[in-house]
Symmetry: C2
Subunit: 262 residues, 2 copies
Amino acid sequence: MIQKIVILGAGNLATQLALALQENGIEILQIYSRTEKSAKALADQLHCEFTTSLRELVPKADLYIWALSDKALYPVLGEMPVPIGNVVHTAGSIPMDVFENYARDYGVFYPLQTFSKDRKVDFSTIPICVEASEEYLQAELLELGQRISNDVQIINSEQRKQLHLAAVFACNFTNHMYSVGQALLKEKGMDFRLLHGLISETAHKALYLDPLMAQTGPAVRFDEETMNLQEEELKETPEFQKLYRFVSESICHMHAAKKKLK
Amino acid sequence: MIQKIVILGAGNLATQLALALQENGIEILQIYSRTEKSAKALADQLHCEFTTSLRELVPKADLYIWALSDKALYPVLGEMPVPIGNVVHTAGSIPMDVFENYARDYGVFYPLQTFSKDRKVDFSTIPICVEASEEYLQAELLELGQRISNDVQIINSEQRKQLHLAAVFACNFTNHMYSVGQALLKEKGMDFRLLHGLISETAHKALYLDPLMAQTGPAVRFDEETMNLQEEELKETPEFQKLYRFVSESICHMHAAKKKLK
């Protein structure tokens, strides 16, 4: 069983994960970060040690969790002086075997959520996607995940890559649609708050209806007349006009395919 | 003051609006719908009269609310035998003056929300956008809106057109991004529920952060390497691949413009 953990990273995810693990009986031995300020800030919150040197990592941890940004992971890994114990990372898009020469056994511990600095998340509802190089480690990671979440799943590297892509659509691209909505309102002196209720309800609907079934608007009705009118209205913002046409066509395409399947 | 209302339409919006108005002391005199079944169903819920003939509309109402679908509004209007009293419609994209020759005075009463059959909405938080041909009617519509909602605003026709477009992005297009995420998961044997928490949190973040500021992911970091990798991963679904590239470019474009403004 995993009981003593070292965490590499001190960003949003590292912070929230470390706090959740500690609250659920896991001992955080040490925080590593490349900058002393952020390492110390998190270590102070947890009342544990910190370091900015990979050579000073304590050797006795049951697990080393790499919660660094995707960009930082490879350079930091390159600086690792000697293989350490069991290692996992928390990234959606990085393969498990990056650790092959740097760890005893290794795996992935990927919490699927978007983390913000000043917003504490409830880990119990966050899916944690687990994968490991060895069966005993997979069992240990499942047990560790279940301490903080009610939704721990075994997801292999290929699935995880696809899941991460799906998350880009459902999170980043969705947020971009909100941004465009906001920009359009601003243009005519209206407040983004006008859309708040609609945004909440649209998200809520996707959770209890199938989003494919829940689709509304001119594109799903193949209503060319309204689409042409709305496209014309966007002529002052050609970027949004292109986006309007393109996403509308994508909706038409998906729903035409759905009809064919019936 | 408006106290007696006739509602034309018996769909999702007509139903929810009629119920909310009745609960707040408005008398619903009559329901009109082109099909007897739907007219009767709603009239039974409200314990009021119904008709399927425009010639049988009761003449004494303070307001006639046209809550028909956008497509039905024009044909039904063409069949109107004589001008009636004060009339409003509930549509985002239809100009107010469609009623010019069919009503005494006229306006718009547009609740900005997506309505579903079996889900009762809380009208008190729905923005109601009001516009009228005459000042006295505008005041009456404001008062009527305030009976059922805490967020009633005067929005002119030009603004309303733009608001409706913004709603297409924030609701229909957002929902399409959910659908693509779901399709990607299905492809690799994963359940859409994996994304539920992410969808909720992304919507929630947009309400308390500026969505432009809240944007995350490879595109906003101008991370070409990750974007190329992810695009490559989508090669089996060229439609999604195109969408990925196009929305990513749109994010880059918007955030490059933001940087320039600074």
